[in-house]
Symmetry: C2
Subunit: 580 residues, 2 copies
Amino acid sequence: MDKLSTLRLGLAQINTTVGDLSGNTNKIIRFIDKAKPLGVELVIFPELAITGYPPEDLLLKPQFIKQNQEHLKKIIRHSSEITLVVGFVDSDSDTYNAAAVICNNKLTGVYHKIYLPNYGVFDENRYFQPGTQCPIFTIHNIGIGITICEDIWHKDGPAAIEARTGAKLLVNISASPYHAGKKHTRERMLTARAVDNVAIIACNNLIGGQDELVFDGNSLVINEKGEVIAQGKQFEEDFIVVDLNMDFAFRTQLHRPQYGKEPHLVRRELRQANKMEVSSQFSTIDKPPLPSRQLEKMDDVAEIYQALTMGIRDYVNKNGFKKVVIGLSGGVDSSLVATIAVDALGAANIVGVSMPSRYTSSASKLDAELLAKNLGIEFSVISIEKTFISYLETLASPFNNTRSDVTEENLQARIRGNILFALSNKFGWLVLSCSNKSETATGYATLYGDMAGGFAPLQDVFKTMVFELAKYKNCQAGREVIPHSVLNKAPSAELKPNQKDIDTLPPYESLDSILKAYVEDDLSINQIVANGFDHEIVTKVARLVDKSEYKRRQSPPGIKITPKGFGKDRRLPITNRFRD
Amino acid sequence: MDKLSTLRLGLAQINTTVGDLSGNTNKIIRFIDKAKPLGVELVIFPELAITGYPPEDLLLKPQFIKQNQEHLKKIIRHSSEITLVVGFVDSDSDTYNAAAVICNNKLTGVYHKIYLPNYGVFDENRYFQPGTQCPIFTIHNIGIGITICEDIWHKDGPAAIEARTGAKLLVNISASPYHAGKKHTRERMLTARAVDNVAIIACNNLIGGQDELVFDGNSLVINEKGEVIAQGKQFEEDFIVVDLNMDFAFRTQLHRPQYGKEPHLVRRELRQANKMEVSSQFSTIDKPPLPSRQLEKMDDVAEIYQALTMGIRDYVNKNGFKKVVIGLSGGVDSSLVATIAVDALGAANIVGVSMPSRYTSSASKLDAELLAKNLGIEFSVISIEKTFISYLETLASPFNNTRSDVTEENLQARIRGNILFALSNKFGWLVLSCSNKSETATGYATLYGDMAGGFAPLQDVFKTMVFELAKYKNCQAGREVIPHSVLNKAPSAELKPNQKDIDTLPPYESLDSILKAYVEDDLSINQIVANGFDHEIVTKVARLVDKSEYKRRQSPPGIKITPKGFGKDRRLPITNRFRD
């Protein structure tokens, strides 16, 4: 490779924290310090790296915007002899989701995100004005175009304009929320952009957990032929350094007009802006050789397991907790949550509590104990029986002449919720709720009972996937972490004699398919029936989903791992008479 | 008035229910049937009258949009010899918040909302494309322009274009969420539009409660001189019929160009559309004389009381409940909730439960009982003492060598929450939580304890306003509904000996002012201090607000009565390190 046509690029795939302007800025500076001795000429950081993503209504606080600008200045002062692209909030009379281009202690230019996502979990129109300019920056005569996340998903969007205006390196800074399988979609899209625009794409994607979202990193550099030439780790901070061979840029420049015809765009105001010279100096240091990078390929189940692990770790740590407490029923949900929590936080930070009642089988008690032993976590048994009796006695008079029903079942679940929260209050432990997506969808869970928690890691994980994740863990560990007995027994809430989930719900295989169709794909009842399900069952499931909206509204946040999770992703009214 | 220049207009200020396409359509048809014998020539209905407002993610279900269109056809078939403006969801390749203009069994035209609100509680960019056309409809040679809600708040928006294009009657169909004092802002704005555009404004605003929102009606007809000539009731369904004297239209038509110069607009694509003839026939029936209308003027406190009453009534009824249960502590919050609930649902539908512990004063017990007697509601006493002891015994071993702290306080609150939910489960009663805005903001409330409920009517009502509302009620009733002793004692949670709110929180007068500044106005700590508050206290309050986000995320919905309530109005991350 000719040194003159090589650009050493660094992608700082960092884990930011929302609102931690100082912490994020210090981390950005640490990565700049890491880049300089490596001879990196251009370092790019994720979308809104200074503020963390998504800052939500913090963006409505003028002091937040102002302090973010002050932190940008601190970064600028730290940019001698290097070029940076840093996500921040730009603001004059309007507010923009922006990328600062910084070189040698100067702010060379600013790009404003043009396509603001306002669907799914996104609310960017709530905060930002769209940009209208597609500036080109040049380093060593190489044209560089910038886009932010959503921008590059639009084929004829700013990346295309920038490429036609002469950009040969298309930098994209992203905070693209994870769901299973999305990395393939993202990679295919980025490959198409590279090939279509005959340009190198460098997409730096955020990693880390933020409330219900996880960002998986997996940053990509794809050359003009559509080949992946560098890739960031998934679910881990990473600093990806790659030498870009820009020979093609000088070759193709001769044959393509510098300023191409503007493509037809939805936004007709969109304009190319002037070119801005960033730097004409190559790195002055001898560039050390780069080590080769090997990345593990993960399948969907492994990926989801990692997503949940990072989601728990970041929620717990970023919110200042150290330990978590989990009610261990001996069932697969709580067993899986405890297992992932151990991977996320270490066994020393997990407390398991078994809270048996008269209906708890001895097998369940043993399973809970065995799991705790396998995981090496603190474990205690707190019987709820006396308190249950006390409630029954207290309510005997108002419940006079009534039959035992779901009320008595919920009471048991709520005593358990109270005990976990008492432990949380007393010792400062975060409670993890173990409700999965099948339960949360159908309301097969007790509000303030098993739904009680600060965080609900499995809220977007269907029961069938809970089993897969548990099996994956055992397989990956090469031993029985989650006892086989847990995996082989029929799911039961054990809140009345001989209770099984299947008494109330359809088998999980069909339930989860119906739920996916109704909740994630918004299919009508007739459409789901046409896919081969029984009309009565589909109608019943849809009714359960609809009437449980009030419970979900009060559930703790979970981790989004599907294209449509509960929470910000699915905003249905509670008061709602639509049935289809 | 010259019959030839008079248009009889009806504003059907109806209470719709989200998702109840059939119910809303039947109600629309009932109002059409009511209008015809009155000789009404044009009837207007609120924004999205067919679907209810806001339908939120129901709009992502194609079957929902399709069924809404089918219901529109039903209305069209019912429109012989009358003209209607009906809010519905229009959809081809895009989806629009639309107004159908219907005349004599034909769909004459459709207007698409141009300014889509996407701030505060609104998410309209999530669902809709903005319209680009400002059509004019003519009835008896009178030009009529249509706008939807937000549109008319923009001075140079579609109403101005329509007026310049010849519209003399500007119809606005709204679903404008209530907050205290908003009606004055709305009336001032509409008056300015009427005068500026020399046109009559007829604004039909929705009434009713929908989850955390209430719509207050208060529809207005304002003549071209800026005089209110008709007004709808506040917080009640109404059918406002008014004869519009359009003489000015024929006079001014001679002096003004039919198609004026298009004003400079933010959206340059915005275009006037062709005129559409709606009907050239006058009503064929003899128009009966209209009775005069007298409306009660409400001050802010009375208005808030009515908003809360309607909010409770609609949440309970629209969700299919009949009775509610309220934990009566003898304090002012629960006393007020019970009192409003009686006004909303009738005394026969309210159950009050006193749940004393060892820390409950005899005064509180007596106050709860007296309140229930004053209100004439069912009342029972369920002691939590035995269950509290049972928890303490159960937790004695894990709590060995710890001190009594907030844990034991929360346990009492959670036992009460469990008892209320047990009654709810057993008898199908909805639980009303009594947490107010001061508590919800600072986290001075127990998650799953006093925060437990299906609905939290006071969630947006500061404690100082709680007292005002209670005094207002007594004054309005002309008797002591809420006992004076309740109003005169120092607020206390009574969860430990001699506890007073003031031991933990600043006095409510200053607390509420600080909270308003921090929560509603997004002021920084220094700005609040500059308004005359102690730095240490302001910092403490701000920290309490920040760290309670996780509790609010799990609270039941309340009723928005301020410019910024919790819930959809204020979307802060839980994981958030910003402190200012």
